[in-house]
């Protein structure tokens, strides 16, 4: 048993996750390997210290502190309910085309308390790429539901901003003054890993946090790209309307400097706009040693010299998405097959890949 393999056993032992036979293997190795024995002691000490961290308590009752806000929320809900019913007809719903043979995905963007902030929200839907070249722009100035569905050959960029001075009681809990959210969707729902660093979330409160990107975020990103499309480019919506811009610094008004983390955009089923996607992508690893893109159903990894250093197995027509660098040489991604979603990895140190 190699020391490297023993490390996992040691780690699992800390969580009491070893089977008896595995425990015996570990014990046998530790009896003969002083270095691993020392490491085991270190990890056990660490675990002991972590378990002994003070179980802190809030210095004052948090519930008591928020009671006034809860009452405000209750009042806002009541008034919101009344006004919402009156504004139902004005809720924005953009239907751009109907492709019956496609799944209709829906992005619901609900802004509670937005009655007061209605005038402050700007939803811009930049749409192009219909085969006839028409471009539709939907502007939503209501605070109700913003829904894009049944889109065809289109990507929508919806930039919703609210005033930095928004201060109504009703928006206290749901809208945040520095909200600037970028949403891009194309006949699919924005996945729950979608993160807008500056958003405090108006819709995904109970969604997984989606912390998929490792540290050092500047160079990271999470992309979901159809394996079938052979897309290896950075989507962008340019002035020509033919491209979809993901460059936050250029396309989003708001605290661009805060966009220092990855955001997750699903580009599955964007094959209809393949022709509009230009510029090279490559999801860079945290340290920038590698970058990866999808080509003909395979993941292609480039090294720092832009040389192909690894090409994965081909996943054919299956959708490949959720690319994520766990560290600088370890990549995980998801593949949607008939059997459902599978998580795969590529370990560039070991030059290996497989299903997790």
């Amino acid at each position: 048993m190699k020391c490297q393999e023993v490390m996992e056993y040691m780690q699992r032992q800390l969580d009491l996750d070893l089977a008896d036979t595995e425990q015996q293997l570990l014990d046998a190795h530790l009896r003969t390997c002083a270095s691993c024995r020392v490491m085991m002691e270190r990890l056990q000490r660490l675990t002991s210290e972590l378990s002994s961290l003070p179980k802190v308590h809030p210095p004052v009752s948090l519930v008591d502190a928020i009671l006034p806000k809860l009452e405000e929320i209750d009042r806002a809900r009541q008034s919101e309910g009344a006004i919402r019913s009156a504004t139902t007809d004005q809720s924005a719903e953009t239907s751009l085309a109907n492709r019956s043979n496609r799944r209709a995905h829906r992005l619901s963007y609900k802004v509670l308390g937005g009655v007061v902030a209605a005038g402050l929200l700007l939803g811009i839907a930049i749409v192009n790429l219909d085969q006839d070249g028409s471009q539709r722009v939907a502007e939503d100035s209501s605070a109700g539901m913003f829904t894009s569905s049944q889109m065809s050959n289109a990507a929508i960029m919806n930039v919703a901003t609210s005033s930095a001075t928004g201060s109504s009681a009703s928006e206290e809990a749901e809208i945040h003054d520095d909200t600037a959210e970028l949403m891009i969707t194309s006949e699919f729902e924005v996945r729950d890993q979608y993160l807008s660093p500056s958003s405090k979330d108006t819709s995904a409160d109970d969604q997984p946090v989606g912390i998929l990107a490792p540290s050092g975020g500047q160079k990271q990103g999470i992309l979901g790209i159809p394996a079938t499309g052979g897309i290896s480019d950075v989507p962008s919506i340019g002035a020509d309307g033919k491209t979809v811009i993901l460059d936050k610094n250029k396309s989003v008004s708001g605290p661009a400097e805060e966009w220092n983390e990855s955001f997750n955009v699903d580009l599955e089923e964007m094959d209809g706009i393949t022709g509009g996607i230009q510029a090279s992508v490559g999801l860079a690893s945290p340290e920038g040693t590698y970058s990866v893109f999808i080509e003909n159903g395979s993941l292609v990894v480039l090294d720092s010299n832009n040389e192909r250093t690894y090409v994965s197995q081909s996943f054919g027509d299956a959708q490949v998405y959720g690319l994520e660098w766990t560290d600088d040489s370890y990549l995980t991604f998801k593949v949607l097959t008939d059997e459902g979603e599978q998580v795969y990895y590529i370990d560039l140190d070991k030059r290996s890949e497989g299903r997790m």
Binding site: D15, P58, D205, D206, P208, E287
Partner: protein, 182 residues
């Protein structure tokens, strides 16, 4: 453990039940926020925001999930969002974290890490590693419960936890040697 009946009452609009529910979870919520954010004031803010969110979203909770993981999902979401906006993480050379067997026994100094060192080390972890550590050791969550809370695959949870512990022990070794710190 929060009683299911209390949750149901809260979901049905019983405000007293809702308040009682919030009181029962506030310490757990604060504790996670405190260790993810690293200071009391931010933890207070985040925990209050999380409680408000629980209050406004309780109707969306489904009993097929564990209430405690649902709550922790909310608070970690908020904390990581705050964390990402406010605190850059320290990039740690992953290669340095790889275990190597070249340490001589003589180099090892058995010493007790002081709590402050561990807190500092935790603060140097990336946000997701820290969240996994906090859920594992401050909430006593299992792999599966961490997976549910963070919406991560089980193997990813293990990977993060193992790497986080490796990084922590390396950081603490460095503290002992006086190499990192402050």
């Amino acid at each position: 453990m929060v009683e299911q009946e209390l949750i149901r009452s809260a979901q049905s609009g019983d405000r007293e039940a809702m308040i009682q529910l919030l009181r029962e979870i506030e310490t757990h919520v604060y504790r996670t926020a405190y260790y993810i954010l690293g200071n009391e004031q931010d933890a207070m803010d985040a925990a209050q925001e999380a409680l408000i969110r629980v209050y406004t979203k309780i109707e969306s909770f489904e009993e097929k999930a564990q209430f405690k993981t649902w709550v922790q999902r909310i608070v970690t979401n908020i904390c990581i969002d705050k964390f990402r906006r406010n605190k850059p993480t320290v990039s740690i050379d992953e290669h340095a974290m790889n275990f190597t067997a070249d340490h001589s026994v003589e180099e090892e100094v058995v010493a007790t890490y002081v709590s402050q060192d561990i807190r500092e080390a935790i603060n140097k972890l990336s946000d997701h590693y820290r969240a996994v550590i906090v859920l594992r050791y401050l909430q006593d969550f299992s792999y599966n419960e961490i997976s549910d809370s963070l919406g991560l695959p089980l193997n990813t949870v293990k990977s993060y936890l193992f790497r986080a512990r490796q990084q922590l022990q390396t950081l603490l070794q460095d503290y002992q040697k006086g190499g990192v710190g402050g």
